[in-house]
């Protein structure tokens, strides 16, 4: 029989911490960012970029969300209105009690990215998990090479994190921002077109062992991967986050498996090289 080696944990992984919503930002008609702190104004825990938190309204349910960024005293979750729990969150007001447990997941491979140029690609709400690494890179600017963000959404109204896209990130040294929308409007002066085509148009070079971090709807990821392959990016350098329905968050309830990996524990961050060894069931 194989050896059973018990893990070390102090806290029961399934019982959360009570928190409150301290700020709500309306990003788009169906996306809100919730700032969450404990009742005495602290962060419930300190996640690494790319990690997840199980957010809950106690009498509605729990849901696993990426932690899009954090401040000294709060965590931020950017959430699209999609189902029972997210509907209830969108109805909630500042001061609403929520619970959070975490941090879960493996987070982005920061050490692997250090010293390299990084290309971030996002589609729609998919920018939310990627943003955690973008804000980390900005806060630790000298640890990384040149940064480029290619981001697209359905329309200008659907662009998330507008304050970052049009204010905060425009003044970061050696960081390029390239935005596109599927459909423009009367005021939109930027690129109009799908993200994969936009990538090929911009033709970012893979030189210098550049890392690419991408997240978006599955169909967009599929075509982006094709574009990145054409441009010559290495499979080990293409990093994405996968999503499955999750319940426990700690790799025990069995639900989020892709092959023998659990998205909540071994993921959600995977490289393309790793994904090619996993069954295509996600």
């Amino acid at each position: 029989m194989t050896q059973v080696v018990r893990a070390e944990t102090a806290v029961s992984p399934l019982v959360p911490v009570v928190c409150k919503i301290v700020k709500i930002v309306l990003e788009t008609p169906d996306v809100k960012t919730f700032h969450v702190s404990t009742p005495d104004g602290q962060k419930p825990f300190t996640p690494m970029p790319g990690q997840l938190g199980m957010l809950s309204i106690l009498n509605v349910g729990e849901g696993m969300f990426s932690i899009t960024t954090q401040g000294p005293n709060h965590l931020e979750f950017s959430i699209k209105k999609t189902g029972v729990l997210t509907d209830a969150l969108h109805e909630a007001e500042v001061g609403q009690t929520v619970t959070v447990r975490g941090p879960y997941g493996n987070g982005f491979p920061i050490d692997f990215c250090k010293g390299k140029d990084v290309l971030f690609i996002g589609g729609g709400i998919g920018l939310a998990p990627v943003r955690s690494l973008i804000t980390y890179a900005i806060q630790n600017r000298s640890d990384f090479g040149k940064l480029q963000v290619i981001y697209g959404s359905r329309s200008p109204a659907d662009l998330v994190f507008k304050e970052d896209l049009f204010e905060n990130w425009t003044s970061v040294p050696e960081m390029a921002l390239d935005l596109t929308v599927d459909r423009g409007d009367d005021e939109w002066k930027g690129n109009v077109g799908f993200v994969p085509a936009f990538i090929e148009q911009l033709a970012p070079s893979p030189e210098g062992d550049k890392v690419c971090v991408l997240c978006g709807p599955p169909i967009m990821i599929k075509f982006c991967l094709q574009s990145l392959a054409k441009l010559g990016f290495k499979n080990e350098n293409i990093i994405t986050t996968l999503e499955m329905r999750m319940k426990c968050g700690v790799g025990k309830c069995g639900r989020c498996n892709i092959g023998s990996c659990f998205v909540c524990l071994d993921g959600p961050v995977f490289t393309l090289a790793q994904m090619q060894n996993m069954p295509p069931e996600y």
Partner: protein, 332 residues
Amino acid sequence: MKTIAKAKINALLDEIAKKSNVLAPVAGDGASKFAPYTQGAPVSLDGRTLLPPKDIFFPQTEKMYKFTNNSLEGSLESSFEATKPQVLFGIRTCDAKSIHCLDHVFLTKGFVDEFYQTKRDNTLIVSIGCNGPAEPTCFCKSMDVNPQEADNVDVHLYDLGSEYGAVAKSEAGEAFLANYAALFGDADVKIPEVAGFPLNPNLEGVTEKLQKMFDHPLWEEVSRKCLGCGACTYLCPTCHCFDVSARVAGDQGFRFRCWDSCMFSEYTRMAGGHNPRPSKKERVRNRFLHKLQYFPERYGELLCTGCGRCVSKCPVNMDITNIIKQVREVEL
């Protein structure tokens, strides 16, 4: 070896029950399972129970915490209770192996599940070996289980006919045998030969072969007759998938975890409607790959202990031994 006559088992259980809770296969109406033993209750120690002992460590419904929530004020209170020391008596070797598999799931890799841990650490396990198949559908021998031996328990009993031979497998087991020494004798024993098993799947190379068979048309064929119920998963001693849900009444409620089944259609359905396993084929494939490929890849053990409960009770006779045979026969 220490020995005890089978006729004296009730006396032994009565003695143990004076000091701690005992869970044993109590005979009675309805399906056989491990239930609290009361003084003098008849126990049926022949064969294996229909319901496996997994619910002793992993109950079908388990409260985790109570909460109140009226939007601006919310609080929660953990429902965790340390388990009082108890004795689990009479599990078979297939079930003992299943507990080893559940230990891997609940106690390793990053987090320890405290609800499982307290039950596991406070339960003394007495297992009984089999000298042959308890039911026609048993095939433990083919699944890395020695029908006559269990090592990850506290006391193991060998079936010697009219008596059991007892061996301590842990310090707690030695203390147990010392405690009840008065009921045990000492004798030279001969452990019987193991009888033949009608079902003998050959597992050699199956995990490696399955790694190349994800898209094989075999899954379409074997999944057609499956009804998509959860009988196999709920009767299986190693199946451990669970859901987290809540019972709410107004402002108050509690969150619990409960068994769930990967065979149910909405198991992997996400908010927004996307379901990576939309049909029976994907779900049936996932179940068998989990048992025979994914779990071995992750933990180094097969997740099937050959107890045969699924084979006997599946409404349509889905047979894992037959699927193993078909996998071996496939030409890649």
